[in-house]
């Protein structure tokens, strides 16, 4: 067991973070978040025949739908070549002959990319929060901050999955394929499968375990986490009424999200050290 040198992690993380600042990745993503969020905040209720900002609960509910599509995709694209990209370039061998352990290298990569992602998220949605702030009371601001925090955690979870894929994939092409596949699975297919299973069994078998299966998808954890903090929205979601109280505790859901961050990263380190 080799000791961890946090300075080495910091050097790798710093390079990854500044790379994303310099190539304007952080700026581009922040602008995308801001523009989408503003559009949703003002036109989100257009189907109901109204435009303009309505309530923070409805706005957050719309933003949740946006974030569930966008953040996993951005995080996966950000992280998929973290390791495999260095390997393909030939610089991985060079890095690994330096006084740095494989664990430090992965943790440094992850920390730097996570920093860039968090920075974009805070800047992008923070700007929207500032624009909306005159219309928000303290409670609403608190909810909005919670939404931002959970969006960051969602990004971290998918970034962790991306870095894991990056360790396992043989080349960049395969890593990008795996990343896109992961996005399809968790964002598009997973809920359909659950719904399908529920319909086929007519809820007769194991209906009680379905809510728990939602925890197997970080995107759903994010959705549940936000939906349950919003009284107005809770009733809009039929799902919410059958969801067990035990799982609706934000601390529990936060813990599950944390497991989604730590788990894939731990697998990545385990694999990379072999």
């Amino acid at each position: 067991m080799l000791s961890i040198d946090f300075r080495q992690i910091g050097i790798i993380a710093g390079k990854e973070f500044w790379d994303r600042i310099r190539n304007r990745w952080v700026l581009a993503v922040a602008v995308v978040f801001t523009v989408f969020a503003l559009v949703i905040a003002y036109f989100g209720a257009a189907q109901q025949g109204a435009v303009g900002f309505r309530s923070i609960d409805v706005t957050i509910a719309s933003l949740v739908s946006l974030v569930i599509y966008l953040i996993p995709l951005i995080a996966l694209i950000l992280g998929f070549d973290a390791i495999v990209g260095e390997r393909e370039r030939g610089s991985l061998d060079l890095l690994l002959t330096l006084p740095i352990t494989r664990k430090e290298l992965i943790l440094g990569k992850y920390a730097g990319l996570a920093g860039a992602l968090a920075f974009s998220t805070i800047a992008g949605f923070g700007a929207v929060g500032l624009i909306l702030s005159p219309q928000l009371n303290l409670n609403a601001l608190f909810h909005y901050a919670g939404f931002m925090g959970s969006a960051i955690l969602l990004g971290f979870a998918f970034l962790s999955i991306a870095v894991m894929l990056s360790v396992f994939a043989a080349d960049r092409t395969r890593a990008s394929g795996l990343a896109i596949g992961t996005w399809f699975f968790f964002v598009l297919v997973f809920d359909l499968l659950l719904l399908g299973a529920l319909v086929v069994t007519a809820g007769d078998y194991g209906g009680a375990i379905f809510p728990y299966l939602l925890l197997a998808n970080p995107a759903d954890v994010f959705r549940v986490l936000n939906v349950f903090s919003l009284d107005e929205v809770r009733t809009l979601y039929g799902l919410a009424t059958v969801f067990p109280e035990a799982l609706s505790n934000p601390a529990t859901l936060g813990g599950v999200m944390l497991a989604w961050i730590v788990g894939p990263l731990a697998v990545a380190i385990w694999r990379f050290e072999r």
């Binding site: 040198d5 370039r89 030939g90 060079l94 002959t97 006084p99």
Partner: protein
Amino acid sequence: MASNIVEARGATKDFGTVQAVKGVDLTIAAGELFGLIGHNGAGKSTLFKMMLGLITITSGDILLDGEKVNGPRFRETRRKIGYLPENVVLYDNLTGIETLYFFADLKAVPRKDCPALLEKVGLSHAASRRVREYSKGMRQRLGFAQALLGTPRLLFLDEPTTGLDPGAIRDFYRILRELRDEGVTMVLTSHILAEIQERVDRLAIMEGGLIRATGTVQDLREGMNLPLTLEIAGGAGLAEQVTRVLQGIAIESIEEAGSILHIRLSRDSKMPALARLATLGDTMRDLHVREPSLEDVFFGYRN
């Protein structure tokens, strides 16, 4: 410091059922400029990576300066090492000097040492240009500067002159000689045998996962007992006269190519033949003894 800075004992690497390196024993003394040659698939890259700790060793041991490269003191051991991978692509978005800063930070080398290294490899003028704009040769030189960070005791250079023009190759070997004078040990691989043979102190020939021969170029030539060639230039009737004086000496072949006569004979026959040829006097305009090249030696060990 251990007197043998690299020491491999029975170093073996299996990839599944394929044994890429089969129990290699190798010692490299401190201060040597050591060449490792072998064709693709001979196992030299694998051996290189085993020495650097990039892949785990199936069995056996490799010690660098008396320590296992991935042992408990791995940080100290690695600070003594410089490595230039083959065809390395560094970070396009960084400038030359930023690239060195990054590696200097990881090696805990002061950043103020970096400009002098760029100067040493002739890249000062491009220090603040992005690596994206570098030519292949410039990238190679930047990679070399990176390997020299922190005045390593041991340099591993994998095909270091790839992409360099002849002038840059000369400069490169000049730097290697300076480093050797400072006591740095260097292990390099090359497929350009003619380039390496005049420049290394010792070399190892690798084939089929084994080291077939180790020694100086001269040791290897003698060990193989390959024929050498006498090239004689002269006037008309040279061939008849030469054939006459060499009667009784074992000759492998005599060929006439234009006005030059090529005589292949064994090393043992060389001195007696030269003594007889000296009696020819003015019939001979010039005589040149051509030793077997490293290519000949190399292919001799392969066959």
